[in-house]
Symmetry: C2
Subunit: 218 residues, 2 copies
DNA sequence: GCATCTATTTAAGGTATCCTAAAAATAGGT
DNA sequence: ACCTATTTTTAGGATACCTTAAATAGATGC
């Protein structure tokens, strides 16, 4: 239980880098709903423990050891989530939340055996399996927030993530459903509204919304 | 996640009182492997929140609300543990540990549906169901440590609990298995050894051992 | 009824994590 | 190359737990 938090940082760095890239402090902070200051503090610790490569003002990446840990964690998350949705028929959002909490506590044996119940091979190398992502939708690949897209960028919605669940619901009701194609048509300024095309429709959304929608670029 | 600790205190108070009695600070402290000072501190908080009745120097009991919460928690623990042992065929000790961690995070819906998979009715009122106890053995009823038994007291071993798992293994290897009949033959002083009868055998054990064996008195 | 022992609480301090506000580093436009 | 806007870090402080050591309440033997 003592390391749950560290593990949360690891898995979220994996989610944003897929193990091969770098994330900036601020991006990780907004993804995890904490302040950049908290991230900085934690990165120093994880760095000392050899789990991440961290250089001041340069962002973080996972070390080899960090990737292994994070992948195992992500695997447990996937398995638990799939077990909850596919076997117990629990709603996705709840399944995700519970998987987030439980992923730190279940043993590998438990994960393996649940995996057999689901009937799908789920291993730590996310590229070889068709898993639900952290939100229960698609395999995780490096994804960015719509607020970070450049004009003309195209992609598919990976998942929605926001501190307020009302935001997620609102977005879903507007048609921002994981898997849909999305393109940034116009972005006037960093702070202003964006005009985006989603499927056939064209919608304007503000920065907060754009920060809660994560996309896999084409 | 923030309330896991409070919940641990609640469920352990329930385990030692079955919701109807009082536990002393020290007993709870040694059961939970923390210092009495920590218990005192937490009891003040839980008391302020209306979950326990606490009076300085008098011990604690659960309030009605506290009993409800603790029972629901215990139910989730039982279900998770049974799921792990009966469905996934995980070893008892590991199942217990994982259930301890997970009981705080799974929803009632998840618990209900797992319960159906196990095929046994498990409800919050422990008296109406034959569940594994916290250690996977028997229904919890009020239980006391052997170190608290009086000369002549008889009972059945409920479970073993100690900070060191080596202690538990040692005790099991000596024949202290949940379910066995046990009687305190002689107890010279509080700190000294006890002589006890377990099944047909008579054994002497020291105070540490006696503090790790919990018994349901006849 | 008092001395003494034990249980309990209080006091003071530690660690992990979070936050806000201020300071410092970097990056981008000219 | 410099100014400015943004990002990141540092500093200082809060909270939830935990600990040890000292103080106090309650129980027990005579």
């Amino acid at each position: 239980m003592r390391n749950d938090n560290r593990e949360d940082y690891l898995i979220n760095i994996l989610r944003l880098t897929d193990g091969t890239g770098t994330v900036r402090t601020t991006e990780l902070a907004s993804y995890m709903q904490v302040t950049p200051a908290s991230v900085t503090e934690m990165l120093k610790i994880l760095s000392k423990e050899g789990l991440v490569n961290y250089q001041r003002y340069r962002g973080v990446s996972l070390t080899e050891e960090g990737v292994l840990k994070a992948r195992e964690l992500r695997r447990k998350h996937h398995i638990m989530e799939r077990f909850l949705t596919d076997v117990l028929d629990i709603d996705h959002e709840q399944a995700h939340d519970q998987a987030c909490a439980v992923e730190h506590s279940i043993s590998e044996e438990t994960a393996d055996k649940m995996c057999r119940m689901i009937g799908t091979k789920i291993d730590a190398d996310c590229t070889t399996c068709k898993n639900p992502c952290n939100d229960g939708t698609v395999t995780i690949v490096k994804c960015i927030a719509v607020s970070k897209m450049r004009q003309g960028d195209k992609g598919k919605i990976s998942h929605l993530s926001s501190g307020e669940s009302t935001m997620v619901r609102k977005l879903i009701s507007m048609g921002f459903v994981p898997g849909r194609d999305i393109q940034l048509t116009t972005s006037v300024s960093d702070k202003g509204a964006r005009i985006i095309k989603i499927g056939e429709a064209t919608i304007a959304i503000d920065k907060d919304m754009a920060s809660a929608i994560f996309v896999n670029l084409e």
